[in-house]
């Protein structure tokens, strides 16, 4: 178990800058999830930690030891790949014991360690099987077993659930989390799926375009996003963004959309000179009907339902907006509906830079 410290790491592939100066400290025993759209640099950052790529500049420390110049095998880490990367000609037991065999561990000891890891992952009956005779979920378990067996300082996961179907993914999400609880090992987990990030992480590291956008617990990122990117990336259905105007008044900052009053924020907010702002509000925080918050009228457009809940698409002064509700509504197209919006649920962003206005 060890902390991972990344100091001003840059990575360039020729003229393309993939990581533009990353600073990150992952505590010992923490489960950190790197999340972002494809091409944001999250996988590259993981590969730098693993030693599969060399940083262009900066420092990487694992457990207080600088590892930039060490080959992967000397960094004492284990990695689980998206494709599982099992050795196809070796059976499950040999796949898991390969690293120990390379370290010249005695046979009996290997059998013991592999047996224990296999039992933990429910692989006891599959020891003699070759990877091609396993299902996707089983292969995933073997890949994790191979990592556990090494008893490394840190586990690195590179989109390990992407090749599984939805149900299996849900189950493995749970199992990986439980495994982390049992082992308590420092883990860095890369995914493009914000639901995986939200459900698994102790701390989420949201990345975009080679820059860390925000680091925090899942709920911090959800409730208090640092910018438009994080606000839009975390949460499903995604946060609504409306173009609006903010005007400082006597009771606070009055927001309007398309000239109609939207909401009044009681607290002081730094508003740009011209008053133009991006208003963000989560679909599940908008209530349909007249309630505690300020009333806004919108026109219903379409209702999508999953059974447990529905997403109502509405039109607010010419701008599209989604509302997430567990109520079952019968709405016809164009029907006027009142919406209740509470000031505490509204986030303001700078339309120019995308930064949060506070």
């Amino acid at each position: 178990m060890a902390s991972i410290d990344i100091k001003n790491v840059r990575k360039d592939f020729g003229p393309v800058s993939v990581l533009k100066g990353v600073d990150l400290a992952i505590a010992s025993g923490e489960f950190a999830v790197l999340v972002g759209p494809s091409g944001c640099g999250k996988s590259t950052l993981l590969r730098l930690i693993a030693g599969l790529e060399d940083a262009s500049s900066g420092e990487i420390h694992i457990g207080g030891r600088r590892v930039d110049d060490l080959p992967p095998r000397d960094r004492d880490i284990a990695m689980v790949f998206q494709s599982y990367a099992l050795y196809p000609h070796m059976n499950v037991r040999d796949n898991m014991g390969y690293s120990l065999r390379l370290k010249r561990t005695p046979q009996a000891r290997i059998a013991e360690i592999v047996g224990r890891a296999g039992a933990k992952l429910g692989l006891e009956a599959l020891g003699e099987r070759k990877p091609r005779e396993l299902s996707g979920g089983q292969r995933q378990r073997v890949a994790m077993g191979r990592a556990i067996v090494r008893n490394p300082k840190a586990f690195l996961f590179d989109e390990p659930l992407s090749n599984l179907d939805a149900r299996m993914r849900e189950q493995m999400r749970f199992e990986i989390r439980k495994l982390h609880r049992d082992l308590g090992a420092t883990s860095v987990y890369v995914t493009h799926d914000q639901i995986e990030a939200m459900t698994m992480a102790d701390r989420i590291v949201a990345m975009n375009a080679g820059i860390i956008q925000q680091v925090g617990t899942p709920l911090e990122l959800y409730d208090d996003p640092a910018n438009v990117f994080v606000a839009g990336f975390i949460g499903s259905p995604a946060m609504n963004f409306l173009t609006g105007e903010a005007r400082r008044g006597e009771t606070g900052v009055a927001l309007s959309v398309g000239g109609k009053a939207f909401c009044t924020l009681p607290q002081a907010v730094a508003v740009p000179e011209d008053g133009r702002v991006t208003i963000g509000i989560r679909p599940e925080r908008i209530r349909i009907g007249v309630g505690a918050g300020q009333a806004v009228e919108a026109a219903a457009d379409l209702v999508e339902t999953t059974g447990a809940a529905s997403v109502v698409h509405v039109d607010l002064a010419g701008q599209a907006m989604k509302i997430f509700t567990t109520e079952r509504l019968q709405l016809s197209q164009g029907q006027r509906i009142p919406l209740a919006i509470e000031a505490k649920d509204v986030c303001l962003f700078d339309p120019a830079g995308g930064g949060r206005l506070r």
């Binding site: 599969l52 992967p72 095998r73 880490i77 790949f81 990367a85 050795y87 196809p88």
Partner: protein, 306 residues
């Protein structure tokens, strides 16, 4: 009454017709195969039991196993058989070795790789006949540089033509064959190398495997099926290809560089003894059939293990 009696016989005829139906459908294709492949083979093999000399109009009688009896006593045939083993093993062995080295080198990126790759695969595109001409000139001290270089390096006592030396003549075509066939192995092995997922190497690197260990535990097992199949196939092709030898030495001097396939050619088109040539060819076919069955058996066990 009569209708009820005739019904079973009618249906029996129908059933018989149905039994023949698949054969009727495949008959055109089978006839074509028979006409183009089976009949020539049968006629060819039948020559082995006849006395056919092209320049002797009275020949053509059935002579039973005479040609085969002669074959067993023919020192040139046994020498050709020995040479076939040397020729095939050396050609395939070195082609494979150099092909593997080339493939491993071309599998890692370096500047100018595409150009070098194209150049290396060039020999494969040259007709064997031209390859043979080219190499016999290269080995000829009157116009080629190779004997002089070998002499300068102390490999030869005099800048002679090895093609005219009974002890070394076979090595001329072998050099040409290695040069010509190496790209085949390079291409196929490179394709197999490129199909190995990079992540498996990375996983092994993290597991602590060094370069040699990665080659042994990942590259070799991944290449093994391709290696086995290409080596076995190439063995048949090379054993069956007399072109280089015919072009470069005509099997000489004095049959010293003859392999069985070129011996067949020499007997048929220079000795014009078609009967005897057919007997030699039949012997070669039998040997290769044994080899082919071995090949198929190995392939089956390999597929069974997958």
């Amino acid at each position: 009454m009569s209708a009820t009696v005739s019904l079973p016989t009618g249906s029996r005829a129908r059933r018989r017709l149905l039994m023949f139906e698949p054969y009727l459908y495949s008959a055109p294709a089978l006839l074509l195969v028979a006409a183009t492949t089976l009949i020539p083979i049968v006629i060819g093999i039948s020559y082995a039991f006849r006395n056919i000399m092209l320049l002797d109009p009275t020949s053509g009688d059935f002579v039973g196993l005479d040609n085969f009896r002669e074959l067993l006593r023919d020192a040139s045939f046994w020498n050709a058989l020995k040479n076939t083993v040397v020729w095939t093993a050396s050609c395939v062995g070195f082609q494979f070795l150099f092909g593997l080295i080339l493939a491993l080198m071309l599998n890692r990126p370096f500047p100018g790789r595409a150009l070098i790759q194209a150049t290396i695969f060039l020999p494969w595109a040259i007709p064997t006949f031209l390859v043979g001409m080219n190499w016999s000139w290269l080995l000829n001290p009157a116009i080629g540089p190779l004997p002089h270089w070998a002499y300068a390096l102390g490999l030869m006592n005099a800048p002679d033509n090895i093609l005219s030396d009974p002890d070394y003549a076979l090595w001329g075509p072998i050099f040409a064959g290695i040069w010509w066939g190496t790209p085949f192995f390079a291409i196929t092995l490179l394709a197999a190398l490129q199909s190995i997922p990079r992540e498996i190497y990375e996983a092994a690197e993290i597991d602590g495997a060094g370069g040699l260990e990665r080659f042994r535990s990942i590259t070799l097992p991944f290449l093994a099926p391709t290696m086995v199949i290409t080596v076995l196939l190439r063995t048949i092709w090379v054993a069956n290809s007399p072109e280089l030898i015919v072009v470069m030495t005509k099997g000489g001097p004095a049959d010293a560089s003859q392999i069985v396939a070129s011996y067949v050619f020499t007997q048929a088109y220079q000795g014009l003894n078609f009967g005897y040539a057919s007997a030699v060819a039949t012997a070669l076919v039998l040997l290769l059939l044994v080899y082919a069955f071995l090949l198929i058996a190995i392939r089956q066990t390999m597929l069974g293990r997958r």
